[in-house]
Symmetry: D2
Subunit: 352 residues, 4 copies
């Protein structure tokens, strides 16, 4: 941690401040420049609050040298995290560490027929996981809010029918009790900094798909994951889904540069959701391919049998037929650098 | 609602689509341009989802003419909302409709001595409400998370000692049961789109101070308020506290233009929090004065007896002495256009 | 063009306004809603200024249905633009319409040895064009401003030595006279809305590489290209190079979703500059691959023999060895969907 | 300047690097932390490029402690800059150092009658300067581009008729020759980083009104001013006019927090342009008052006798009558803290 002292500070005042800092168990190196004094703090600075330092009348700037996250930091955990999830079909799917995983399904579960038919289509096309919203965060109180518990029942039926592990969004802590048969719990972008919820999920043992808030920095996403890991749950999938910028042609700006950065800074797998990011189904294939090429560990894709009649987000869903086509192209992109396509694993349990 | 049809659409297809729309109870006006057909939907379009229309293969763009919010909309409720709150000192404070209200206090409640001393100072300087955080949303799981229930007890003691109504942040639904003696419930920026929480607050009868998310549009802030009003609670104070932009000199960019817009679009009172927006105490006076001049109905100001030793956000807190000075200047700014300073109301219960 | 009338407008006032509009040669369709009147303007609305309408006291909103650009619009020019550029080596390079083009070279031309050695390396690795800055736009007046005319001489020597067409940035109109031997003129991000310069370039007959301003919308980029085309020059290459957002880990946020949108809205070729966007050389390969997968027509890549000693932007340059490796991988990504790699064209002049 | 070394660097490598740095004339202090080494550079670091250091394989981060600007820096020039401008009416107007200045007039000069009538109105209402665009930067090549030289003639006539000094925008270097009778040269937001133009203006002796680019940081605005001052011209007025954010209700987000920051970091006067920032005339008064309350040294206000018929930006112009009303209110806001209203100076040439 580096502290830049205000130019007007007296020598004595700086000495007093240094003594104060050293009482907190750190060593202080002082560099005296032509017009400014800089202190370098060495040792365990994790308990020293940048903001508290900034309130001190001698301090002009505080710069943290080390990242504020530890458990999610690749520095202390060099190997990629791999998450294994068992399907009811007897097959184990892997996420991270070279595997490419595809989570597909409708924005909202609508009817038994709809969700089972989508589940079968996406499984056949090679998806490893089924997604479907049942509790929906909606900007307007007058919009369709999801089928709730009834929708969850239908999603579980689709899981039984296909064997695919299921992924759905949790919106409040009390819903946790009914998420027992859910395989991956999604935390939506709007809840990425719902710290009470994150702490609770730290105590559960299910994989968490943590979506980046649309105005969250990469560091904040990693800090949100740190909340979950600090609670003891290390099965976290990070998910980039677009950030809010001045550009309004797309719903959000998909930040694909976040992929290499997240993978450098952290050992956690990184997924991308091109459907929500762009909000426009015709753009989904281009951005899905780009995400794989940039090194994403997997994708979240919205698939709906009849997007024109979807109760929610139809404009960003692709049909099962287009999904199958896209999967064929994505396999070829993943093959360019020898990525492991999840389904190849079938009947072959050796690790890569 | 306006629907722009894709240029390649056939006449027959457009007729079929028009018929489909009219079945949903709206009248459709068709304008045929040189290269494009545009449909104007007239009637109650509130049940028609823009996004569902966008999924239709004939549709190029959908433009909503009316704002998506109703209860918070000034169009349907032309008079300013005024909220009256009784203090234990027998005085009623008013918020909105010409009154200027000041909510002041420390970022976090730390000790009995601290909170009671601040409460007395800010009351004496003319603040109408005491704020103090007890459950703190913190980016890092390793930061001070607030004193919790114990802090709430101390805040209530300060309320009893001074008579000031108190304001504190609610982070989760289950905390509602212990918020009985809280006078104004604050919803923090990170929870502005925690829709489960908003619905719950719609069912309670306490005033809600709803902070704008740092990446929320003005429309989204109003939609969040609409969630609360749709539940039956119409005592809502909107609060601008800075948005996230590319500029990094200040923590956030305080969007003061939101004030005239919110006051034009809605009848709800609008407060501003210059302490969190700028994150730098020396900037607080300038932005507080600007907020009043721009028409804000009140301010949230962080005051700490010893900012250098604050457990949280000391760098943005001003001392009681500077607060008292600032209040004197603010009164003069408020007087320029004859705003009602809350304290003048004492012993005079006539409405303005 | 759609005009939403203010709710308080009288019937007579609207009739008068309609008459006024029809005098300007358009037909007006009136839709009367429950609470609002909407006018649809049909015909040639290109002379009617949105902003002038907005100033009218009856008008609440104005919505343009058609895009404001014409010559760069794919609607009026469905086929991809292809630009052919002859090298001194007797080979013609193509840009756009299925070809993948690579422009590579150092940020700044520094010495004869440096530029000739880079030119030879990138040619050998398969680049089709040599870039090198001679007039440099620098944020600080105290930074290295480029070698100027002397640098241009060296760049021309490298062109002669390798046969590669050269690309360099023009910063002011008066430099045009010495750009005679330059093959592609680059307009930098900071000059994207230097309209005087754009008009001048509309009058020249050289291909223009037009970089998107870091705060320019996609529509503004296309309008800047429209300025050049309106002047008669239709050989324009659009270039995405990152936009400014709240995320500060990367220098800018590379907006790869701009690629499919630009290619849908316009017939012009679209390049991507991952070096400037990320500002970090280790991220360049990931983003270069993603750009190709997203459908970019080519890339601008900074290559420097010794990035640690570069006079400018060394941190974003890759070495010739890494460039050659990257090219091998990029070829495989381009091959996935059968893109035409520029060099394959050698000795084979059939068009695709 | 602080250099954070990569964790994997060997002791020997760091020593070599330190020796290299010291050869460039700085002293290096080394702080060895638990997991990282940090170098503090002391002395004249102005020739050491951050970006070049970043390219070095040992370097992880570089942090500049001192601001990169010198001449515009208040640190080296503690007193406010005051600019005196003589009018043809024999009166000297002052800008900065406690004075409040008002520049008013139409977006574009349209006719002799229009500009002279506006000039007389704004002078009568108390404006100190007349503005009017003659060369207009327009997003579309098909929009009205200003009257050019003819417009300049009309503006000069208005100057003669009223005695008001005039302000107009320069778009290209070659226009400088005809700007002889212009009193303040405006550099528009889109040209803020047109470095060739800035260098040229450094060589002239007229006051420059430098508008902040809509995506420029505060530091970049100061660096642009540094370009002009480095050339020898120290009569610069900085102007905040809104930045580009995700919020689309207003054209731009007026960043009033820039005012206290600019005034802390620099000695130059700071103006605000609420007309362009909001793009909506009804918002202009609120934001003009807020700007004065936040400490702005003056305002740029668009005034048009008939905004509904303006050829340019009518929607953001106020009428002379509303301008006169606004001026009366602004005087009262300026008086709250004893600011010197320019006109009070009449017949009283003592400096404050």
């Amino acid at each position: 941690m580096i502290i830049v002292i205000k130019p007007e500070a007296s020598k004595g005042a700086v000495q007093g401040f240094t003594a104060l800092l050293e009482k907190q168990g750190v060593k202080v190196h002082l560099s005296e420049g032509a017009s400014q004094v800089v202190l370098g703090l060495v040792g365990d600075t994790s308990r020293i609050q940048e903001k508290s330092l900034l309130a001190h009348h001698l301090v002009e700037k505080v710069i943290r040298v080390q990242e504020p996250y530890k458990r999610v930091n690749r520095l202390f955990h060099p190997d990629d995290t791999r998450i294994a999830i068992d399907g009811l079909d007897g097959k184990t799917r892997h996420i991270g560490a070279g595997y490419v995983g595809i989570i597909a399904g409708p924005c909202s579960v609508e009817t038994r027929e709809q969700i089972i038919s989508v589940a079968q289509s996406v499984k056949q096309a090679g998806a490893g996981f089924l997604r479907g919203g049942v509790f929906k965060p909606r900007t307007s109180p007058y919009s369709f809010q999801g089928l709730g518990c009834e929708g969850l029942e239908l999603l579980i039926e689709a899981k039984k029918a296909t064997g695919l592990p299921i992924v759905t969004e949790l919106m409040a802590i009390h819903q946790l009790e009914i998420f027992d048969t859910v395989d991956i719990i999604q935390v939506g972008a709007r809840n990425m900094q719902n710290f009470t919820l994150l702490k609770e999920l730290g105590g559960c043992r299910k994989p968490i798909l943590l979506k980046r808030g649309y105005a969250a920095t990469i560091t904040e996403l990693l800090m949100a994951a740190e909340y979950i890991m600090a609670g003891g749950n290390d099965r976290i999938i990070l998910c980039e889904r677009g950030i809010r910028t001045f550009e309004s042609t797309t719903r959000n700006t998909l930040d694909l540069s976040a992929i290499p950065i997240l993978k450098k800074q952290s050992h956690l797998p990184v997924f991308v959701d091109p459907s929500h990011a762009t909000g426009l189904s015709w753009m989904v294939p281009a951005m899905a391919k780009a995400a794989i090429a940039a090194g994403a560990d997997g994708l979240l894709l919205e698939v709906h049998p009849n997007p024109e009649e979807a109760l929610c987000d139809g404009e960003q869903s692709i049909t099962p037929a287009r999904f199958a086509e896209l999967m064929n192209v994505l396999r070829r992109y993943a093959a360019v650098e020898g990525r492991i396509w999840d389904e190849e694993d079938e009947g072959n349990n050796e690790t890569p």
